[in-house]
């Protein structure tokens, strides 16, 4: 379970996130949607303890992220702008992550196999394509077999096979009773995966509910978004 309660994050006078409240429940994929600059990544960074909130609270499994003793065993996260040093080998990147949270060494091999990177495990990350880097980020998120997955734009750079693989992975994860929070600006893609939807626009939640509730009376999730925001440009302030 993920609970975000009245969360705000201001940079000087700019409100990147403004009083955001939502819940992502176990057994469901929650789509966290909005255009670029809407405040999605900032919300996730605060939720994951990387950035301090200006006000409000964000809890994972009932606790602040930084209060989790071995967080990678509870939460697997992929964040844009948080990646490995390019000169390090992929296997070494996963190995230090595993050691930091007392995750068994065998999990490194397992997630490399799962993400199709086993053959390239000894290559340095700087030689990876964008899609391979994305797979490595997902491998890192899955390393601790977490109950909660928080993924920021996970299909960026993936080919159609990769997109399908991520879609199946997230559905399977939720189907096993675990929590998935999927942040994306691709509304059509997310509509194919999500059970619940939270749409943010200009730092504020404009609508939240089940996919059926949010899209009721609209041809698509995208149309529902434009109807709620009255904004066809969708850009940041």
């Amino acid at each position: 379970m993920i609970e975000v309660l009245g969360l705000s994050k201001h940079y000087g006078g700019r409100k990147a996130v403004d009083d955001v409240t939502f819940t992502a429940r176990p057994g469901r994929v929650t789509g966290f949607l909005g255009p670029n600059g809407a405040g999605k990544s900032t919300t996730l960074r605060v939720l994951l303890g990387l950035d301090a909130p200006t006000s409000g609270r964000a809890l994972v499994a009932g606790r602040r992220y930084r209060d989790l003793a071995q967080p990678l065993r509870t939460v697997g996260a992929l964040l844009e702008g948080a990646g490995p040093v390019p000169e390090r080998r992929a296997a070494d990147h996963l190995m230090w992550l595993a050691r930091s949270n007392r995750i068994p060494r065998r999990r490194v091999r397992e997630v490399l196999d799962l993400t199709g990177l086993a053959e390239a495990a000894r290559r340095r990350v700087k030689t990876y394509s964008l899609g391979m880097r994305q797979r490595l980020g997902i491998a890192a998120a899955l390393l601790g077999e977490p109950d909660v997955l928080i993924l920021d734009e996970p299909v960026n750079g993936l080919d159609p096979d990769g997109i399908r693989w991520v879609r199946d992975l997230l559905r399977d994860h939720a189907a096993s009773g675990r929590t998935v929070l999927l942040s994306s600006h691709f509304m059509a893609e997310t509509a194919g995966i999500a059970d619940d939807v939270v749409i943010v626009h200009r730092g504020r939640v404009v609508v939240r509910g089940s996919l059926a509730e949010v899209t009721a009376g609209h041809a698509s999730l995208e149309e529902a978004f434009f109807a709620r925001t009255g904004d066809r440009t969708g850009g940041p302030r």
Partner: protein, 262 residues
């Protein structure tokens, strides 16, 4: 312990760390090989009453002089070791690595302690290798005169002082790099601290100020007061180095705790 092991793994799997370590050790070997002939000649000319003249016109008791050379030989790498610390710390500010690190170890105090211990442990090994290189070259010079000299308690104490300097100075450089958020900035700041000592700018104003700089403190800690103009006692030097390490680590901790992990 798990965070410490993770940080050590990060250090050992970063090519830049191996490159800088290799350069430091190679540089030490080159510098020592350049001086090897001078040492051998001076040792061969030791008088029957045990006096050596390493520097022309400056006769000294041979055993004191050799031990002084041993400490001074390792200290030559002093200005280069902080580059190693800056490379280790600076990796966090490349490609968003700090974000991944904080995801894995979100408690900032625990993270900082693990980082400092891992960096200190790695630098300790490198410092021992530097000291070993110094010993090997000096052994070649003294083996026909008094090879046991390099294994005496005084020699070991000299190495211990160098290792203490190396670890404390590198912890300082590491913490400064964390505060400045970049390898280059950390290297520049560390070299600036070194340059202020080597150019004797502060020493010309007040010797007490020079004694408060890391490399000035290192000279006081390591070198022989008989042949060097020192500005304070070895104990003062050690306290200054420890003070720099503690103060900069505290500031780095505050910065890490208050700033967003970007």
């Amino acid at each position: 312990m798990s965070a410490f092991r993770a940080e050590l793994t990060k250090i050992l799997t970063l090519p830049g760390v191996w490159i800088v370590t290799g350069v430091v050790l190679a540089l030490q070997a080159v510098v020592m090989s350049q001086s090897a002939g001078l040492f051998a000649g001076a040792v061969a000319a030791i008088t029957p009453d045990g006096v050596i003249e390493v520097f022309a016109g400056l006769p000294q008791p041979a055993d004191e002089a050799i031990l002084g050379l041993l400490a001074g030989a390792s200290l030559q790498m002093g200005p280069f070791l902080p580059v190693l610390a800056a490379v280790i710390a600076g990796q966090e500010f490349r490609s968003g690595q700090l974000g991944v690190t904080v995801l894995a170890v979100p408690r900032r105090v625990r993270l900082l302690v693990a980082k400092l211990l891992a960096t200190g442990a790695y630098v300790l090994v490198v410092a021992l290798l530097v000291a070993g290189t110094s010993t090997a070259f000096l052994y070649a010079a003294v083996r026909d005169w008094n090879p046991g000299l390099l294994l005496t308690g005084e020699a070991v104490l000299g190495h211990a002082r160098f290792v203490a300097f190396a670890v404390l100075f590198c912890v300082t450089a590491f913490a400064v790099t964390l505060v400045l958020r970049g390898t280059l900035a950390g290297v520049v700041a560390s070299l600036a601290l070194t340059a202020v000592t080597m150019t004797q700018v502060l020493a010309a104003i007040a010797l007490e100020l020079d004694a408060l700089l890391p490399l000035g403190a290192a000279r006081n800690l390591l070198l022989d007061p008989g042949v060097n103009d020192l500005t304070a006692s070895p104990g003062h030097g050690l306290a200054v180095l420890a003070g720099w390490a503690a103060a900069t680590a505290l500031i780095a901790g505050l910065a890490l705790g208050r700033r967003d992990a970007r």
